[in-house]
Symmetry: C2
Subunit: 227 residues, 2 copies
Amino acid sequence: MPLQPGLNLSEGALGPQVYKHMRDRIISGQITPGTRISETEIARHYEVSRQPVREAFFRLADAGLVQVLPQRGTLVRRISIRGVTDARFVREAIEADIARLVAEDPAPGTTERLADLIEQQAGVDGDAAAFIRLDEAFHHTLAQAADKTFAWRIVEEVKGQMDRVRFLSTRYLPTERLVDQHRAVLAAIEARDPDAASSAMRQHLRGVLSDLPEIARQVPEFFEPEG
Amino acid sequence: MPLQPGLNLSEGALGPQVYKHMRDRIISGQITPGTRISETEIARHYEVSRQPVREAFFRLADAGLVQVLPQRGTLVRRISIRGVTDARFVREAIEADIARLVAEDPAPGTTERLADLIEQQAGVDGDAAAFIRLDEAFHHTLAQAADKTFAWRIVEEVKGQMDRVRFLSTRYLPTERLVDQHRAVLAAIEARDPDAASSAMRQHLRGVLSDLPEIARQVPEFFEPEG
DNA sequence: TCAGGGCTACTAGTATTCAAGTTTGCGGGT
DNA sequence: ACCCGCAAACTTGAATACTAGTAGCCCTGA
């Protein structure tokens, strides 16, 4: 008899479950930025005690998704343009090097798997969540091919900030262009051209946020007031 | 009437204080890797309740410094060669790009500050902790000059694994060579040569761990058995 | 009407208690 | 002497109780 909203039961610790759930809700925009949430409120919602919720909040705060104000409350951070571009910087640095490594020596089966993912992406139409999932799979596959699972953890940690923006641009996601960019990365890898792979990845990750200013203009209430 | 070992009082939350303290103790090798520690034990030691200690343990686990085994105990992770090189990979990717940015457009006063730090480093003799502190200041200054404080947070998170090794090589720290590498980075920046700055940084960060295998051979009990 | 002060309701931080699972060691039986 | 099994003493996970501090509201007084 767990709970009504998501689902928690005796399969694994509660803290991480709450974290994942809250993280998804924030990144996907189900919780409006600026909303004030409280530990007790969330605890009631999931029908657990404050303890696991606190753990989740810590990690969310580390990820920059919420802001804890002692004795005052916790609120969902608005998207900071600065924060998003900073996240992109880190991600670009890491993934450019990963692409380089893969191009130098691709693990067997890598190119096939990447090509398959790209095809699936080309077939997606309109479903932003599905596309983002496939996009994540593409990048994750590259990281695995380079045998850099730890680096991928860092990327994941940072990626959330970028995905928040991408969920906002649901209808405007230029999937065509993104798929082409993935193709460019794959082509460079197949050509065993590390420099090309690296720069294709950089171009891709910069392009992902090309419409950031436009989105910030359209939904200003989701964004931190400019500094 | 706080406590005997470190010091905690009514200035800030206890959790972060415990985290910092434990982190330092682990990174500097004061707690032997493989040691089993328990929340209650540490709580008694700091004369606080288990709650803040738990928070600290979470973050230490995230940083890969401890391993929490439910219902069994928590133990200080041994140094994993794989983990250290993975950390270096991430750090190299980020800091190479930072060095590139700084070389493209150094903030005013940057080169002077870097030169000053290098001089201080050259003067250090034998004191590993002091040298590591100055080394950190050098890299931190670069990050600030590139206006990448967020990226620096990631670097810090990852740096711990590398510093553990460096603390072990107290006497063998080739400070001369490291200072020279810093000079190379600075020279590239002063020459406004982004490519040179980037590759000098990469070379530096790879060199830092050149004696890693040797150290692992000398103090095998600090290291994870090879996979 | 407006300004000031105190009270109340709510927040997160901390401490304490309870629960569930694992390890360890002792003791009896073979 | 050895092995099996049970029980007690740990461990962390979760829930509850308590503390301290903030903010906002209402009431009072001018």
